[in-house]
């Protein structure tokens, strides 16, 4: 999750052709990637799609640190291998679909600042929903700062040790509890400042 800040940095500071491309076009591109995932049933086609996405990823000079984000969903996909009875074709198909999907979305997010994505989404989705998306995204960064402070406090109180599982669980839970309380306090302050700035159920973006 810490890679989120890199993702944001890459989206705002990147200068490649993909960064300069209109967000609308990139979202349409992503829809085509999804269409490809849904319709493609052969490994060769998916390999080709993954190759194109990988090429775009490296041409766009996105920090390599972000690349690990595209591999993360594979951890969970392992569970679904058991459905197929270890059929190599099925496993390859599912893994490639995972990689294509995750590379596509990470590519979109690493080359497009999130207000631009939400601005495009705001034209088709209800304003309250898009506002909630925007506030959640903003809140993640606020909470990441709190989490960093909490991590230090937790470290001084023993942090997580396999030798003391119960104490570790208490520490982790207290950290989450602290995060929730701090988060709720921050959300109240956020709401007050939003109302002061004239917030009425909708966030306006630069081009609105």
């Amino acid at each position: 999750m810490i890679q989120l800040s890199y993702l944001d940095y890459s989206a705002v500071e990147g200068k490649s052709f993909l960064h300069r491309l209109s967000p609308k076009l990139k979202i349409i591109g992503m829809i085509f990637v999804l269409l490809g995932l849904v319709t493609l049933g052969n490994i060769l086609g998916l390999l080709l799609l993954y190759g194109v996405l990988l090429a775009l990823f490296f041409i766009s000079r996105i920090p390599t640190k972000i690349f690990s984000l595209t591999l993360y969903p594979l951890i969970f996909t392992i569970l679904f291998i058991f459905i197929s009875g270890f059929q190599i074709h099925f496993i390859l198909l599912v893994f490639l679909k995972v990689l294509c999907g995750s590379t596509g979305v990470v590519l979109l997010l690493a080359t497009t600042p999130y207000p631009s994505i939400f601005s495009v989404l705001g034209r088709v989705l209800p304003s309250s929903f898009v506002t909630a998306l925007f506030l959640t995204y903003r809140s993640i960064f606020i909470l990441l700062n709190i989490l960093e402070e909490t991590r230090h406090a937790l470290y001084f109180r023993g942090g997580f040790q396999w030798r003391h599982p119960w104490r570790s669980l208490i520490n982790i839970s207290n950290a989450f509890g602290h995060l929730i309380i701090k988060g709720i306090d921050a959300s109240e302050k956020m709401y007050e400042s939003m109302v002061l700035r004239g917030f009425k159920n909708k966030i306006y973006y630069r081009r609105d």
């Binding site: 969903p73 009875g85 099925f90 990470v106 998306l133 839970s173 207290n174 929730i180």
Partner: protein
Amino acid sequence: MSHIHLPDGVLPVWLWGSGFIVAILVGTILFRLTKKEELTRRLPLLGMMAAVMVLGAAVEIVPIAYHVNLTVISGILLGPSLIFLATFVVNVILALFGHGGITVIGLNTLTLSVEGVLGYFLFRLFWKVLKRLTPATFLATFIALIFSTFAMIGVVSLGTSHYEELIHKEGKGIFEFHLSKEKGDQHDGEKKESEINIKRFIAIVVPLGFIGWMLEGVITALIARYIYRLRPDLLRLEKETR
């Protein structure tokens, strides 16, 4: 465990399509039922709790592929209608980070919100009966997670015929193995192997899920205890013994 970590294109279109339709329908009804001022006032809180859930999902317990959802504690704090909207937002954000497919957002919202909504009502029920915070929260989380995990298994098993189609599309796949002695044996073996085995999936998910339910139950109960100590007003409980 209740979150469907399936990529796009694995579930049949009718399944994820109906997941989207039902999720949008429920979401629209809840939007209409919630007062506009109330929704506007609580949007930052909804965003913050959704962010907590996203961060919880980032803490991975690798050996059992489990991450805490924090849906039940969010449900207790937000209430049943806002938790549905929060899970919708969480799934969209998670899908944008490549955590779960975009097409399964609707189905994931439905299974996760089962956890949140059920967790909220069970917590109220157990609180009324037991009058003790820690067991009430633990039991509510544990039971809500059982329901949502089985909802997830139900969704995955609905796509069985589609998985079979995916396997048989390329025949034996790209690698062929000829280890069987006789042709007849080989065909029988292939037939058995190529069959989709949901029972095997359940046999793996349920024991791993059990560890997850226990862990999440304990963590949620401890979080609730921490919140009760510092900000009991957030839990909106009657002034009674813990």
